[in-house]
């Protein structure tokens, strides 16, 4: 019963419209625009999350436990924040009348209702998923291994790239997949901070909401596409996790708090 309850809505999306019509519905201008906006903004977001999140996670994972717990809690905050609050927060910080609004205005930067705003919203909401998992992945690396590397003459950079990074790779991949899934589905913060302008800031999730009123089949088609993307992400997380536990220590989604020893 419970299982059916969870599966039924997903099946219903595919059952309502035949596959052929789903594809043609995806061909509509609105759907294509939304797809382009989503892919573009999410690629930039993921690049930012990986580039800044990975060293940050490594830094956090190698701190002493008390500091680590405090920082991880701060990082996790956007995770539990209601999306609407995230949107308001972003506006209050980066909007024209926000904290940094004056500075950005003086520099001639106006990001509200642009794709930059979408990227910021997605990054803000999705990055904790990556950083959190990445911290756990780095923590799961046996501390004797980086220590051994150091006694073998490896400086901090070499320890990171040749030991910590490859050993944490599976966990990092799983974290990236989770962040990507969250980013693709981003809705609340984006609509408040970036709006839903077709061809500019309207992502797939926002398009579903709009098409819901205009053309239900298009809404269904986009939903079907997102179900497939999400399913693929879930599967790849599972596979990465299994591959990782086969190669090193298995702690894929363990909380990032670790008892000090």
């Amino acid at each position: 019963m419970a299982l059916a309850f969870l599966v039924l809505p997903v099946v219903a999306i595919f059952a309502r419209v035949p596959p052929g019509e789903l594809l043609s519905a995806l061909g509509t201008e609105a759907a294509k625009d939304a797809l382009v906006v989503t892919v573009k903004t999410n690629l930039v977001s993921m690049a930012l999350i990986l580039a800044f999140g990975t060293p940050a996670a490594y830094w956090i994972a190698t701190r002493e436990p008390r500091l680590r717990d405090v920082v991880v809690t701060l990082v996790e905050l956007p995770l539990v924040l209601p999306p609407a609050v995230a949107g308001i927060g972003l506006l209050a910080a980066f909007g024209r009348l926000g904290l940094l609004g004056g500075t950005m205005d003086a520099l001639g930067i106006d990001i509200a209702f642009t794709q930059t705003a979408v990227v910021l919203a997605v990054t803000f909401v999705a990055s904790p998923f990556y950083v959190r998992t990445a911290v756990a992945a780095f923590e799961a690396v046996d501390p004797a291994l980086p220590a051994a590397a150091r006694t073998l003459g490896a400086g901090p950079g070499r320890v990171f790239f040749r030991v910590a990074l490859p050993l944490a790779a599976g966990g990092l991949g799983a974290g990236a997949a989770l962040a990507f899934a969250r980013g693709i589905g981003e809705f609340g913060a984006t609509i408040m901070f970036a709006g839903s302008l077709e061809g500019r800031t309207q992502t797939l999730s926002l398009a579903i909401y709009e098409q819901f009123d205009l053309d239900f089949d298009v809404a269904l088609a986009i939903s079907a596409l997102l179900v497939i993307v999400s399913g693929t992400v879930l599967l790849s997380v599972k596979l990465l996790t299994r591959w990782r536990s086969g190669s090193t220590t298995p702690i894929p989604f363990a909380p990032s708090t670790r008892t000090s020893s």
Partner: protein, 345 residues
């Protein structure tokens, strides 16, 4: 080329104060209970732990001198560190593990051959046996051309069967290398087999050091005595006629020793000094204890027989001749000259 260490570091629940010099070609074994500061000492030398205060110098090069604010990072100290469980890189094959710390142009193949792991060059770490892992870890540590060797429990990850062979090979290797070496172990037998000198470390202090045979013959305290495998009979010592010391044992009866002592002591006696007989023998031994045999453990051509608090090691031939079995009442005897008295807290 010697290794000099002198450091203090606060470890809960005690402070470690260790001062040591290991000469070139000398192997020092640090033996003691877990948490005594053995591994801490290795980490201080390697630069993996900065002590509250101290200095480390190898071959005239100062690696650490807290009073001068000098601290060389771990990666710039030429140590060959063999980690407990070996800490091999699981994502690299054997050759890449060995090559990790090797200087450019170093011949890895030669090292692989020397340690008989040439055929395993492309193997993953998880495919290796315990003995193979140990050889890979040694080859990896030596590829760096270290100035000193630090071995943390090099034999504890091995099964009993492999251990004796590996121990012999390791002893041979240490002699060939001629580096100042510290071996950390909790096993006195391993320490005696590998090291020229044994330092017993308890609660962060070296309580006694010297050749293994010296520690066996003259244990400084009860811990060293039991570490070397002696039986310990606690009691109170007082001077007796003829220059002897009588120890009134807590378990009843008295023991005599030629060592001088007063107050709380332990009578330390090694198993090979204890003789067994059916009746009290009329011999030169002053100490005779009658009791029932509680266990008989055969060890090849010998057997360890426990009688009360005493353990006697006798030949299998004697065991057969006397037809000793558990529950038999026998007399365990040892000479006053073999009974060492160690202070008890």
């Amino acid at each position: 080329m010697a290794l000099r260490i002198d450091y203090s570091h606060s470890l809960r629940p005690f402070d470690a104060h260790v001062e040591l010099t290991v000469a070139a070609g000398e192997t020092l074994a640090l033996v003691g209970p877990s948490g005594a500061g053995k591994t801490t000492t290795l980490r201080v030398v390697a630069g993996l732990l900065r002590p509250d205060r101290g200095m480390v110098a190898v071959d005239g090069e100062t690696w650490l001198d807290t009073s001068a604010g000098l601290e060389r990072p771990a990666e710039q100290r030429r140590v060959g560190y063999l980690f407990q469980e070996y800490a091999l890189f699981p994502h690299l094959d054997v050759a890449a593990n060995v090559a990790f710390g090797a200087p450019r142009g170093a011949s890895i193949d030669e090292l692989l051959e020397r340690f008989r792991i040439g055929a395993l060059a492309r193997a993953r770490v998880r495919e290796l046996s315990g003995g193979e892992r140990q050889r890979v870890a040694l080859a990896r540590a030596l590829a760096r051309r270290p100035a000193t060797l630090l071995l943390d429990e090099p034999l504890s990850a091995l099964d009993a069967h492999t251990k004796t062979t590996v121990r012999g090979e390791l002893h041979e290797l240490l002699r060939e290398l001629g580096l100042p070496t510290i071996v950390v172990t909790h096993d006195f037998e391993d320490a005696a087999a590998l090291a020229d000198r044994v330092g017993v470390i308890v609660g962060g202090r070296i309580v006694q050091q010297g050749p293994a045979a010296g520690l066996v013959a003259e244990p400084g305290d009860a811990f060293v005595a039991s570490l070397t495998g002696a039986s310990l009979l606690p009691g109170v010592a007082r001077a007796a006629p003829d220059g002897l010391t009588e120890v009134v044992l807590d378990g009843g009866g008295s023991a005599w020793s030629t060592d001088a002592a007063t107050g709380r002591v332990g009578v330390a006696i090694h198993a090979w000094e204890v003789a067994l007989a059916r009746e009290t023998p009329d011999d030169s031994s002053l100490n005779h204890f009658r009791g029932a045999i509680t266990s008989v453990v055969p060890l090849g051509n010998r057997a360890r027989v426990r009688v009360g608090d005493l353990v006697a090691e006798i030949s299998s031939a004697s065991l057969d001749r006397l037809a000793l079995e558990e529950g038999d009442v026998v007399v365990a005897s040892f000479k006053a000259t073999a009974a060492r008295l160690v202070p008890l807290a």
